[in-house]
């Protein structure tokens, strides 16, 4: 697809009000928990109080007898799944997935589901949970990744044999895999360095912290059809996984996408949906299951804690000559840690001829570690950016100069395979270099920190339909949940191609029976890939219009061009004497020219353009308390082409805020008993409005050659640099560098004291 280079856009790049906006400021928008069907029951889940235990028995008889209880289920009600990854399963081990949703034989973490009930009220459902008698034999547990990797650590699974090591291990362990990627010969190249800095880092697990808890309503009808209403990042994912886990036909399950109250990667897999479906089938009534905040923390898919070693060597002039990194990432109770993407993204902002990255993933007695915005990358970046900053301090080189000098750019060989096409890393660095923040003098206890970040972005499968109504207005439908304004960008792209007013395009997120398959809203893929499907579907409408007008004018189709929403005669063509026809005029005649005007597209989008972001911030550290105040924050990012700049800014600002929380105060805290101690928003403190400054954004536009408008994904990379930027600012404010996250006040005070 091409033809848009140099085009003056009318809608792309503007900031119209989002089409779903009014519903969201009036309380009218419906999220997963807002569905209330006739006869609906309340579902509740009984969860393990132990980090690791054998389930000796589950007696549900008393609960079943309680008046108002309509169904009780345990793992026995779930079909057994093949333990392994079958072709076509997209890498998912459904035995593990099923065992995470309902514990089989053993509980593997505090909060692991062991049974569920559906009852006529929440109070009865809770009373029923208390009546379920589970006998456990408590086993030793392991929470920390380094401890989990030790020989003799409590073993979670008998069937995990480390992959990627030679020889293949004979005994099971908690280490799921070892991965390695390399360019050149890093270990040999360190001898060419004038300075080598090597550091070890530890970070704690954090949660995505979406404000809407997981919620689902499920209903069965007598003909065996199942309907599900839920908020997720992909209702096609919910359909596929639910059908597979419950041995149903895919088309038997219809999933309605409710509005989603934040996800950030945490709603890309099922936790409660199959449970609700099973309860509804057993109870023969609709069932709603809504997680409490405590359940969200204890039993969804937070980002892993890590243990990281990074070593970087440089010449005196700041040229980087070699680097190695070993990234040890927690999985939760089942494999699935994002250590692979971490290895791929860790050194992304730097052109390195000699680089070796090694990743390990180890299961622990914690909830499943899953995707959180640029999964895995922020932690790896924190380590790398800290060392780059330390090298710049030791060599007395400006931290910006060292990043520009070594910055990756078009043609740079990436450790994971490809060479970069046109990217905006250097543009972002220079935009920050020229920003007025650099001229603001710093006071006592203040420091300025800089960091760069990389994320590769995804494309993938998307479908879209553009329906032209009889009056020339358009409804456009995709299967991509709108998590932060994508309806607006879809409508803008459709309006641009069709040449009609943005207000005449109404975007819809269709359910799984209404529109073609779409992969989940993740990987910064929707505006890129689903947007490409919309463009293609709208282009199909334009083509059909030109063909119909050509017939009406009795000319060949090349004599009809499309401009500003009108079919016009091509200059100098045989149609020269014809009057232009608007889309509305063409639509009015559709019944006589071939029927409804419908454009559709189903694509598997390649060509996702990698994203770079460069952040700078000023902090002040209170030497008495160790508390950190972020004074100023500026983030530059290459968006390729910003379809709706306000929502691009919003993605950047949101990612930065999450990154600041990750850097300064967010962490999963476990007691010696392996139970989470801060499973609420009071004790797991995400940033509030008074914690943050305004977050200034600079959008750069280096077009992605893989998209007709030049779009790159923008959602993920903003969370990559903040951890390093804050750490570097603290190091420069205090003279003490921290290697552990979060950089909470006691740790900062200890680091300052250690320096004295």
């Amino acid at each position: 697809m091409a033809g848009y280079e140099g085009k003056q856009f009318k809608w792309v790049g503007t900031r119209p009000v989002r089409p779903d906006g009014v519903d969201k400021v009036t309380g009218r928008a419906n999220y997963g928990a807002d569905i209330n069907l006739a006869g609906q029951l309340t579902g509740r889940i009984l969860r393990s109080p132990h980090a690791h235990a054998k389930i000796l028995s589950i007696d549900t008889s008393k609960a079943e007898k309680l008046a108002g209880v309509k169904a009780v289920i345990t793992a026995k009600d779930f079909p057994a799944m093949h333990n392994g990854v079958l072709p076509g399963d997209e890498g998912v081990n459904f035995h593990y997935l099923s065992s995470n949703i309902m514990a089989r034989g053993k509980v593997l973490y505090d909060g692991h589901a062991v049974a569920a009930v559906a009852a006529t009220s929440a109070a009865i459902a809770e009373e029923a949970l208390a009546l379920i008698d589970v006998k456990y034999e408590v086993l030793p547990h392991v929470i920390d990744v380094d401890e989990s990797m030790q020989p003799g650590a409590p073993l979670l699974h008998e069937d995990i044999f480390t992959t990627g090591v030679n020889p293949k291990p004979e005994k099971p362990s908690n280490v799921v895999q070892r991965i390695q990627m390399a360019l050149g010969d890093a270990n040999a190249a360190f001898k060419d360095a004038d300075i080598v800095v090597e550091r070890s880092f530890k970070t704690k697990a954090v949660h995505q912290g979406y404000i809407e808890p997981h919620a689902v309503v499920a209903e069965w009808s007598e003909d065996g059809q199942c309907r599900v209403w839920c908020s997720s990042q992909g209702h096609f994912m919910v359909r596929a996984m639910t059908a597979r886990l419950l041995k149903m036909e895919v088309a038997q399950v219809r999933v309605m996408p409710m509005e989603i109250g934040g996800g950030f990667g945490g709603k890309t897999i099922v936790f409660i949906e199959p449970t609700a479906v099973l309860l509804a089938r057993k109870a023969e009534r609709p069932v709603r299951v809504v997680m409490s905040r405590d359940e969200v923390f204890r039993a969804t898919g937070p980002a892993p804690g890590t243990s990281i070693d990074v070593k970087i060597g440089a010449k005196k002039d700041g040229t980087l000559v070699a680097a190695t990194g070993e990234f040890r990432y927690q999985a939760g109770a089942f494999p699935g840690s994002p250590v692979g993407p971490a290895c791929m993204a860790a050194f992304g902002p730097y052109a390195l001829a000699n680089l070796q990255v090694v990743g390990y993933e180890a299961v622990t007695n914690r909830p499943l570690c899953y995707s959180y915005r640029a999964p895995g990358a922020p932690l790896a970046s924190f380590a790398v950016e800290s060392i780059i900053d330390e090298i710049s301090q030791k060599l007395n080189i400006d931290p910006m100069e060292i990043r520009i000098k070594n910055g990756s750019k078009e043609g740079t060989q990436m450790v994971y395979g490809p060479k970069l096409k046109a990217v905006g890393n250097l543009e972002c660095l220079k935009a920050i270099q020229n920003h007025p923040i650099n001229k603001i003098p710093l006071g006592p206890n203040q420091g300025r920190g800089l960091a760069a970040g990389f994320w590769f972005n995804l494309g993938g499968q998307s479908s879209a339909v553009v329906n032209i109504a009889e009056d020339g207005t358009a409804t456009i439908m995709t299967g991509s949940p709108d998590i932060g304004g994508s309806r607006a960008s879809m409508a803008q792209m459709a309006a641009e191609v069709l040449g009609i007013d943005y207000a005449k395009v109404r975007p819809i997120v269709g359910d799984t029976s209404a529109v073609g398959f779409c992969e989940i809203t993740h990987g910064s893929r929707v505006t890129f890939a689903t947007g490409m499907a919309i463009i293609e579907a709208a282009e199909s409408v334009v083509k059909q219009c030109r063909e119909r007008v050509a017939k009406m004018w009795e000319v060949d189709v090349d004599s009809v061009i499309w401009e500003d929403g009108h079919a016009r005669p091509a200059p100098g063509s045989t149609a020269d004497n014809q009057k232009p026809l608007s889309l509305a005029q063409i639509a009015a005649k559709a019944s006589r020219t071939g029927g409804p005007l419908v454009g559709s597209a189903a694509i598997n989008a390649g060509g996702a353009g990698p994203a770079f972001g460069v952040h700078i911030c000023d902090v002040e550290v209170d030497p008495e308390t160790g508390g950190v105040t972020v004074l100023r924050y500026v983030a530059a990012q290459d968006a390729g082409k910003a379809i709706h700049p306000s929502y691009v800014e919003g993605q950047i600002q949101g990612g930065v805020a999450q990154g600041i929380g990750w850097a300064l105060n967010e962490e999963y805290i476990y007691g010696a008993d392996g139970r989470m101690q801060n499973s609420g928003f009071l004790d797991y403190r995400i940033p509030v409005a008074s914690d943050l400054p305004m977050i200034d954004t600079l959008i750069l536009e280096v077009p992605n050659p893989g998209h007709p408008f030049g779009v790159r994904g923008v959602g993920e990379v903003p969370i990559v640099p903040p951890l390093g930027a804050i750490a570097n600012a603290i190091a420069r404010a205090t003279g003490a560098r921290l290697f552990d996250l979060p950089m909470s006040p006691p740790k900062i005070l200890a680091a300052i004291d250690a320096k004295k």
Partner: protein, 159 residues
């Protein structure tokens, strides 16, 4: 457990409902009165997604019991528009893209309206502290705070 019969005023209209003693005002609004604009993010008063005004005072409706409502008056997000006209805060949130997922938005709007009724000319810092009881994970608060301050300026100018 027998239910209690409560008579209260919701969004200016007299309502009656039956509720059990464990139900919160939020449960009553959402499950008994079908006013689902107020959201439950935590049920512990930490996130503010369920913000309403109770006899004119900003509260988390998850921290009020349904049975406490006898004779009292509550205003929710569903009553924020003036007829068909959006409240200036609602309009500004739309224009300023001060929402992404929209889940926290009703709570922010109710809380921001209470702020401007208390203090028509808040500083940035005052707005940030007033809204510190409302969590947003999408926006980083930047556009929300700007929208509130700009609305305050517009509303002062309009008087």
């Amino acid at each position: 457990m027998s239910k209690f019969h409560i008579t209260a005023t919701v969004n200016g209209e007299a309502v009656e409902y039956l509720c059990d003693p464990k139900q919160t005002l939020l449960d009553v609004l959402r499950d008994e009165l079908n006013l689902t604009g107020s959201k439950e993010g935590c049920s512990t008063g930490d996130c503010g997604a369920c913000s309403v005004t109770l006899d004119g005072r900003l509260v988390c409706s998850c921290l009020v019991l349904g049975v406490e409502m006898q004779g009292r008056s509550v205003e929710t997000i569903e009553n924020m528009t003036e007829g068909k006209t959006l409240h200036p805060l609602q309009q500004k949130f739309l224009e300023a893209a001060a929402l992404q997922c929209g889940f926290c938005t009703p709570g922010f709007l109710v809380a921001a309206k209470a702020l401007l009724e208390n203090n028509p000319n808040p500083t940035e810092s005052e707005a940030r502290y007033w809204l510190a009881g409302n969590l947003c994970r999408c926006t980083g608060y930047d556009k929300i705070i700007r929208a509130v301050l700009e609305t305050a300026a517009d509303m002062r100018g309009a008087k």
